[in-house]
């Protein structure tokens, strides 16, 4: 017991230290910077101001926010539509094949997602692999313009975030008691009824968790729209990146980061409320 709790203390302690050094402290800098003035010489000048927040609530930034929300929402919906049937299928196949499929899904994560995004460019280019295949199969007469469109941005985001949707849904489908489905059939339910009245409500916690885990990163991921969408539409992530790296306006970038964090917190709060509701209404264990 002693060594076990010792291990626990060390692992929790080191995780806390990690989070403090690499998350909390940098974030405090961002928070402080968002109230400082811009200074061309030293990046920031330690003079308190509300100006950054006044600047940020310009129509331009609101459009950026709106675009980001729509993109993240669209990504979440598409990911959900792709992930749910797959997770369902995963929960129903023999254990051995399931393990292989789960492994295949996780292996790409050992590679940086930035590199995998570059790989997508190679696939989608005008003279890339996808177009080469379509042309040689005579399915199209000329190369499709996939890269630098909204489509390729969605494909990139969905591809990158899909596992974060699949895993929570898969785990809630695994917990689903098949006897409930039999009971519903016995009571006269068709497959459609069973899905809507039994399966969907009971896997809702997984759907909510997965949607949160896709929606929030989709709000902030800047390099995927950057690389796959070109400079078409500005998103919050790109906006922040530009303030720091291109324009050199760290205080404004910091203010935008704070706003993004607040939006995320809002959604996390909604997630917390809805998952608690789903749990109390659904997942109370049977005696």
């Amino acid at each position: 017991m002693v060594s076990k709790s010792g291990f626990r203390n060390v692992s929790i302690g080191s995780t806390l230290l990690w989070i403090t050094v690499f998350v909390v402290v940098p974030y405090l800098f961002v928070l402080v910077f968002s109230f400082f003035q811009r200074d061309p010489e030293q990046i920031v000048a330690a003079v308190f101001t509300w100006q950054n927040y006044k600047d940020i609530f310009s129509p331009v930034f609101l459009v950026v926010c709106w675009n980001s929300l729509i993109l993240a929402l669209g990504t979440t919906v598409i990911t959900l539509l792709v992930a749910y049937p797959f997770a369902f299928f995963l929960g129903r196949i023999p254990e051995r094949i399931r393990r292989i499929l789960l492994l295949l899904m996780i292996i790409p994560f050992w590679t940086s997602s930035l590199i995998r995004t570059y790989a997508l460019i190679i696939l989608f280019k005008a003279n890339g692999i996808v177009n080469g295949l379509l042309l040689s199969l005579k399915l199209v007469d000329e190369p499709l313009a996939i890269l630098y469109t909204q489509t390729s941005v969605f494909i990139g985001l969905v591809y990158t975030l899909l596992p974060f949707m699949i895993l929570p849904i898969y785990s809630s489908i695994q917990k689903l008691d098949l006897r409930l489905i039999e009971a519903a059939r016995d009571l006269g339910a068709t497959s459609g009824h069973i899905f809507l009245r039994i399966v969907l409500p009971l896997t809702l916690p997984g759907i909510i968790a997965g949607s949160t885990m896709v929606f929030l990163p989709a709000l902030g991921l800047f390099y995927i729209p950057d690389l796959l969408g070109g400079a078409r539409s500005m998103l919050i992530g790109n906006f922040i990146k530009n303030q720091f790296l291109t324009t050199g306006n760290w205080p404004l970038g910091s203010a935008a980061s704070v706003i993004l964090t607040l939006i995320m917190c809002l959604f996390l709060y909604v997630y917390f409320l809805s998952s608690r509701k789903a749990r109390t209404s659904g997942m109370g264990e049977m005696a």
């Binding site: 008691d177 009971a183 059939r185 009571l187 009824h193 009245r197 659904g282 997942m283 109370g284 264990e285």
Partner: protein
Amino acid sequence: MESLPIVRLQGVTKRFDDVCAVDSLDLDIYQGEFLTLLGPSGCGKTTVLRLIAGLETLSAGEISMNGSRLNGTPPNKRNVNTVFQSYALFPHMTVFENIAFGLRLKQSDKQAIRHQVSEALDLVKLSGLENRRPHQLSGGQQQRVAMARAIVNKPQVLLLDEPLSALDYRLRQEMEIELKRVHRQLGITFVFVTHDQEEAISMSDRIAVMNEGRVEQIGTPIKIYEEPENMFVARFVGEINVFDGHVVNVNNGSAVVDIHGQLFPVQNRKKAGTGDKVRVLLRPEDIQVTRDADKNGGPALSGKVDEVIYKGKTVDLVISLDAGETINVTQFFNEDQEDLVYGEGERVHVDWLYGWEVIL
């Protein structure tokens, strides 16, 4: 019961890979009866229910209901409902929503549904718990919800898979009575599964004793208990003492059997012939014990009392016979007859009244 069966199973067989769970089983179930499938764990009782409900597909044979074949009819199209062993209540729905589940699929009149649900709740004595969720109920209450959820659909046949097995002893006894009451009030056919012979005997109109996917014997509880047709039924349904012997004389409906040199007259239901080896079966409560061999004047087996177990209403004796067997005897305790109280080590003689035995 002379009418046509409501459900008829003919040559019903179900194989799972290498296991034959149900083996060419024939069974007729009649309108309004309380039929119990009784058998040890793994003998195929649940599988028979699931085949009737349509939750499993037949490997061979045929199930018909009201004279028409059911093969291939999906469960949601069968006029049959099940009370599952695990109850399988929907955890995300209230008691009301659970019970209304089947009704809402078939009708939309909210008022009528409300009325039927409250009737079903009354029947199982759960009124007032409509808004609870399953996990807020005790085991017994969950069991009642499972009942109400099935019977509210007014099925022709209600299938119950060991519905009482998860309940403690007191509650089980209470629920046995409740279940009989519900059966009487509804008048629908109950097919009840249990591995508990006492439960089966006290509740059923008829019992089908099952073993290894087959029906060993089917009949009223009295028939099953008093006249088992084979050793499996005899042994499974209550305790039994078995004496090996051979027939020395046959005369009309009776025979004389030699057991350890004593000549016992027995009823010859089996129609054994002279010289046949037979087994004479006796329930513990059918055996008489005396101190004095000559008191009844007839044949008797001698032995010694090994153990005396006082059980309140009865006294159980374990007696080892001089011929080697050990038998169990149950005597109804009577404080006025002190000569019935035997001590351990006491020498006794046992016999029984003609006709109380079964020969196999």
